[in-house]
């Protein structure tokens, strides 16, 4: 299973973290520090896997951002490597050629998308179309709620005029 997902920038800034195994707040910070040191220093022509504390971290760099997923030792590494890419493709579709800034300012969106892709540290949905559709549905729900709220406040405003 995937124990956690990390998005770290080249400068070591954390852009997203998602933990599927129980790590305390302290451990989380420690893990991030350790892995940043391990992964960011790796050269470009090396393999995408790092062995770490009896587990494996599969990572992939997109521009200035490193996507990392930590898995068990005997999980299929390449499969996870392509989950990362699938995630990136979905983000790309949603944001329209995604860049790091999109993820910084809309980190909450990235969380929504990740929750449609992975659950309980396992792959949930592999169709980009389906994930896109579900996220659009959620956005629509939020929008309607907002409009409703606006129209109610308008009504109240008019009534109290």
């Amino acid at each position: 299973m995937i124990h956690f997902v990390l998005l770290i920038s080249r400068q070591g800034k954390v852009r997203l973290t998602k933990w599927y195994s129980p790590y305390s707040q302290k451990e989380r910070t420690k893990v991030i520090r350790e892995l940043s040191g391990l992964i960011l220093t790796r050269g470009p022509k090396l393999c995408n896997f790092v062995e770490w504390r009896g587990l494996k971290v599969v990572y992939r760099r997109y521009a200035s951002l490193y996507f990392c997923m930590c898995i068990d030792q005997d999980d299929n590494e390449l499969e996870v490597l392509e989950i990362i890419h699938l995630f990136v493709e979905i983000l790309d579709r949603y944001f329209g050629s995604v860049c790091e800034l999109d993820l910084i300012f809309n980190f909450h969106k990235a969380y929504y998308i990740l929750d449609e892709l992975l659950l309980a540290g396992e792959l949930q949905e592999t169709s980009k179309k389906t994930v896109g559709r579900l996220i659009a549905g959620q956005d629509a729900l939020v929008e309607t709620a907002k409009e409703e709220a606006n129209s109610i406040s308008n009504m109240i405003a008019q009534a109290t005029k």
Binding site: K13, V14, T17, K18, W19, Y20, P22, Y23, S24, I32, R42, G43, K45, L46, C47, N48, F49, G54, L55, D72, Q73, D74, N76, E77, L78, E79, L81, E82, I83, H85, L86, Y94, G96, I104, F105, N106, F107, H108, K109, Y112, D115, L119, A120, G121, E122, L123, Q124, E125, T126, S127, K128, K129, T130, L134, Q138, D139, L141, V142, A145, K146
Partner: protein, 1016 residues
């Protein structure tokens, strides 16, 4: 793309980004946290939108790595908001901020349940997602049936059902005992007919978790998995959106093949045939393409197919095809494929008959050992280690040694350990072994643990042919300008013992040897100096005729250290100085060390521990358990009785092998005699631990790996031999523990009887430590249960079987111990009355498919309830006289006592808190001691002991025990007797045929104790 704006959040994020340095950022974060805190304080004024915004800010701050120790409540409370936008934020932020162990989650259970069983699909999804990501035990208890219902409900849409499948997976994985999956085999089979590939993917993950625990239940799923695989491999009926770079869902293919690896065999010939067709197609039809993603995806499938083929133990032809593929992979440029090639080749070693084909790639693998990528180097090292055998050991070990000088520090320790093990396991001749280890110390001394050089000393001592060679080598290394301290130790030791064999060679006269070793003395630490002193003493002894100048030099050194602050050094200096004045008698006392009894290499044991520790429970591992394979690495499980392994150099050692306790005793006594009074100090470095491995079997206390105690330990009821022993009623069950304990359980127990903290039990998965505090008749023990694995230990149960005299309360032991976590379970003990009976901890847990159960004696023993007390003669004798005769004062002649000098016996008494009062008894051969015993019935009770020994026969003595309580007197007498007679291991603990203790002050006439006392 314009996104639902939360202006406040965006502004805050910009502010953070604009911070010039960490300090500014911290200030900005603190300001914001302060702001959020005040806003949350008067919650009434907060609109849902604001609350949402602040909660997101909190998450952002948390993500940046700052402590956010408030506001969890607000996040959780958003879950119960009526509207979707707030609820969504509540769920997602809660799932990110908290983990399953947080108490706040409890507050949300009801709301979550309502959302799950409610009719709002979007709410169902949110709730399932959160539970799936962080649900703990309580969620499993209250929600599992509802989630199961959703998964199989025909009215639910795929988006809910796929989440339900994974949510259930999480709950099951964490708490398999809570989630009831009886009868799920049929349901799972139905789920595999699902057309929606999203639901099918999720269900397949669930199936993997279920079959990994109970493959026999899910037989009906096997043909369906094969069907799914066929459908995907042939690309039949796979919607476009589920193909990835032209490959029909590679992920589902991988998962399906993973599930298949949990079924031990495929019996149905048709199913087997179709599966092999698919696999053959994958093996042959995967080409390397330019597109990276397509390549990765197809190779993900290919590697999983390889694992499945290995698991199915296909025909030889297909296997060699696999090895050929792997051979190709380990030579390609693409680093990922090279890495995986090496990794899978290591797994392939478990398959019979392919080792020879793998060996053909040795040169290529050695090249990978020098790869710029440490991940690949690690794999190469593992593979080389695994494929090493007698035929290629020389080459491989020499490669490892060569690589050692240039390898990076992170790998050196592992490298040197592995080189040492291989050298030992497969040495073609022993001189080669000595060469290798000395080189190892020379090149990477820091990483050569003491175990390794102890082993060299053992081999050399046990093989006369080797001794001159080893001495020459040691002498050569001493000529090097800067040598590692470990090298100083080992060469000093070897030269001390064997340099006289070189005496005729140039530069090897006693004087030369002495001066070259003595040169090193100023540079070494205090742990090495004692070894050097022993060496000097031995050199002196071997110098015949005596060389006065050398003698004076060495005496001067001894004298110098006579006042050394380090007790070990001081003692040796004093003793050697005194001994070396004895002239020719010295030769007898300082004779060569006797041969060491043969035993399993601690080194190999250590390596096994490391391996079992990191090895995950996996399909591969499962298979390794199911089939006897001739893998050299993991499956090297030998019986616990210390029989030497059938392979390798151990069999070259010409030593009578130790088969039982009787042999052991002979050796033990032999040593004592040879070394006379020096048996404790002669050439033993300071701490017992340091030479623990070397001299372990010679130590006075319990025999390491003593056949008897280990075997009883395995059968579960170590050291509690008599079922008739009323208090420690331990049912003798047949146990099939596949997990072997590390270390000797009985020894650990005995050690803990004398100290208050330490390890009670350890195996590859768990370590149980104990820390105890005793005050009067009460004790507080804390059990530390540490999970050594990276996956949780489940179904943890601990039950205390307490004898009637102890009231014991164990705090709740959690059912699951999270990975790498340690839980503490306090155990309160109250002692009601005197008794020697021992409480037992019945402990079990499940790891993977194996249930491990052990019954461990707890160190809540009689001596813990004693408090030493110092009495003067004026206080002692009136008491002694007032307690006259049985039943308050009991006397017994004890025979078969372990012969001990009086001083040591006094130490023994003191060690179990019966305080010896020196000088009180006018006869120097007697001991008088006193202590206070605490129990609820006796309160603090003074106990007096007198032991009269016979200097002519140390195996018998007369013992008198007195106290104000007849039961106490009897129990204490028996207790002390056990300590004195003390046949190590088995018969310690409650003595098997022990007479029934008197139950009250009135002693029945047939009480054997009374009879015994009467006889005397």
């Amino acid at each position: 793309m314009a996104l639902s704006g939360m202006r406040g959040l965006s502004v805050f994020i910009s502010d953070i980004r604009n911070c010039q340095n960490k300090e500014q950022e911290r200030l900005r974060v603190d300001k914001e946290l302060g702001n959020i805190r005040t806003r949350f304080k008067n919650e009434k004024g907060l609109t849902p939108y604001e609350k949402k915004k602040y909660v997101w800010k909190m998450l952002y701050i948390y993500m940046l790595g700052y402590d956010v120790d408030f506001g969890h409540m607000e996040a959780v409370s958003l879950i119960s908001a009526p509207k979707y936008p707030e609820k969504q934020v509540g769920y997602i932020v809660t799932a990110c901020l908290l983990n399953e162990n947080h108490d706040f989650l409890r507050l949300a259970i009801n709301t979550v349940r309502n959302d799950i069983i409610g009719r709002n699909e979007t709410f169902q999804c949110l709730a399932l997602t959160m539970v799936g990501n962080i649900g703990g035990r309580e969620f499993a208890e209250s929600l599992a049936p509802d989630v199961q219902k959703l998964l199989i409900s025909s009215s639910c849409r795929p988006l809910v059902r796929k989440k339900a499948a994974l949510c259930l997976l999480r709950l099951y994985r964490k708490n398999p005992d809570v989630v009831n999956v009886d009868g799920w085999a049929d349901r799972m089979a139905q789920l595999l007919d699902e057309r929606d590939l999203g639901v099918l993917t999720s269900s397949m993950s669930l199936l993997v978790a279920l079959v990994s625990n109970h493959h026999e239940t899910y037989w009906s799923c096997l043909p369906k998995c094969v069907k799914i695989l066929e459908r995907l491999a042939r690309n039949q009926d796979v919607p476009q959106e589920y193909t990835y770079y032209g490959i029909p869902s590679p992920w589902l293919q991988v998962k399906t093949m993973r599930a298949l690896q949990y079924f031990p065999v495929i019996e149905d010939p048709n199913t087997r045939r179709s599966l092999f067709e698919v696999l053959q197609r994958i093996l042959m039809g995967t080409d390397v393409v330019k597109n990276v993603n397509k390549n990765n995806a197809s190779h993900a499938v290919l590697f999983e197919a390889l694992s499945l083929v290995m698991h199915l133990d296909a025909e030889k032809e297909m296997m060699s095809q696999c090895v050929a593929l792997l051979g190709k992979f380990i030579a390609v440029r693409e680093p990922n494929i090279r890495y995986l090639g090496l990794e899978n080749m290591t797994r392939m070693l478990m398959v019979t008959d392919v080792q020879d084909i793998i060996k053909r790639h040795q040169a290529q693998i050695i090249t990978s050992l020098k790869d710029p990528d440490i991940s690949i180097r690690r794999r190469a090292l593992d593979l080389l280690y695994g494929m090493c055998d007698v035929s290629n050991a020389k080459d491989i070990v020499e490669e490892l040694l060569q690589y050692l000088s240039t390898s990076d520090f992170t790998m050196r320790e592992e490298l040197s350990l592995k080189a040492a093990i291989l050298a030992e396991k497969f040495a073609p001749d022993l001189s080669w072994y000595v060469d290798v280890i000395l080189q190892l110390i020379d090149k990477a001394g820091d990483f050569v643990s003491d175990d390794i050089w102890f082993r060299v000393v053992q081999f050399v001592t046990n093989n006369e042919d080797l001794q001159p060679y080893a001495a020459v080598k040691a002498r050569e290394y001493l000529d090097k300008p800067a040598i590692h301290e470990t090298m100083v130790k080992v060469s000093a030791y070897l030269l001390g013992e064997y340099s006289h064999l070189l005496a005729r060679r140039p530069g090897c006269s006693p004087k030369d040897i002495f001066s070259i070793i003595h040169e090193k003395l100023p540079t070494v630490s205090t742990s090495t100096i004692p070894i050097l002193l022993s060496t000097y003493a031995k050199i002196l002894m071997h110098t015949q005729p005596p060389d006065l100048e050398l003698q004076n030099q060495i005496w001067a050194i001894f004298q110098k250290y006579e006042s050394c602050i380090d007790a070990e050094i001081q003692q040796r200096a004093v003793e050697y100085f005194a001994l070396s004045r004895k002239g020719p008698a010295l030769a007898d006392i300082l004779a060569e060390m006797p041969k060491f009894p043969e035993r399993q290499s601690a080194l190999i044991k250590k390596a096994e521990d490391i391996e079992t520790d990191t090895a995950e429970q996996s399909a591969i591992k499962l298979r390794a358990q199911q089939q006897p394979s001739n893998a050299l690495v993991v499956t090297d499980q030998r019986p616990p009785n210390g029989t030497p392994p059938p392979v390798g150099s151990l069999s070259l050692v010409k030593v009578p092998s130790m088969s039982g306790n009787s042999d052991y005793n002979v050796v033990d006594q032999g040593v004592n005699q040879t070394n006379g009074t020096l048996s404790k100090t002669d050439s033993q470095p300071p701490s017992a631990d340091l030479l623990g491995d070397l001299l372990g079997p010679l130590a006075i206390e319990g025999p390491p790996g003593a056949v008897h105690s280990e075997q009883t330990a395995v059968s579960g009821v170590e050291g509690v031999p008599s079922a008739a022993d009323a208090a420690a009623i331990v049912p003798l069950e047949e146990q099939t523990n596949s997990v072997q304990p590390i270390g000797n359980i009985a020894e650990r127990f005995h050690a803990l009887c004398l100290k208050d903290s330490g390890v009670l039990y350890e195996d590859p998965h768990i370590q149980i430590g104990v820390k105890a505090e005793w005050r009067a008749h009460q004790g507080r023990l804390v059990l530390f249960l540490g999970n050594k694995n990276t996956s949780p230990l489940v179904s943890v149960h601990a039950l205390i079987l307490s004898p009637s005299h102890l009231k014991m309360e164990l705090a709740l032991v959690p059912d699951t111990i999270p990975p790498r976590a340690q839980v503490q379970c306090p155990l309160e003990v109250t002692n009601l009355r005197p008794s020697r009976d021992i409480a037992v901890l019945d402990f079990s847990y499940t790891f993977g498919t194996s249930v491990v159960n052990n019954k461990l004696r707890l160190p809540a023993v009689m001596n813990k309830l004693l408090q030493p007390i110092q009495l003067t003669a004026e206080e002692f004798f009136p008491q002694w006289r007032s307690l006259s005769g049985p039943p308050l004062k009991l006397q017994e002649v004890v025979r078969g006592v372990r012969p001990l000098p009086l001083m040591e016996m006094a130490n023994l008494f003191n060690s179990f808190r019966v305080m010896v009062l020196p000088g009180l008894d006018p006869n120097p051969n007697n001991l008088v001691a006193s202590t206070t015993f605490y129990s609820e019935s006796t309160r603090a009770m003074l106990c007096l002991v007198r032991v009269e020994t016979d200097p002519a026969d140390r195996t018998q003595l007369r013992m008198t025990v007195a106290s104000g309580d007849p039961t106490l007197t009897f129990e204490l007498k028996e207790f002390i007797k056990e300590q004195l007679v003390n046949i190590p291991g088995a018969s310690r603990g409650p003595a098997a045929p022990a007479p029934a203790p008197p139950k009250g002050p009135a002693i029945p006439p047939d009480d054997p104790a009374a009879l015994l006392a009467g006889l005397l």
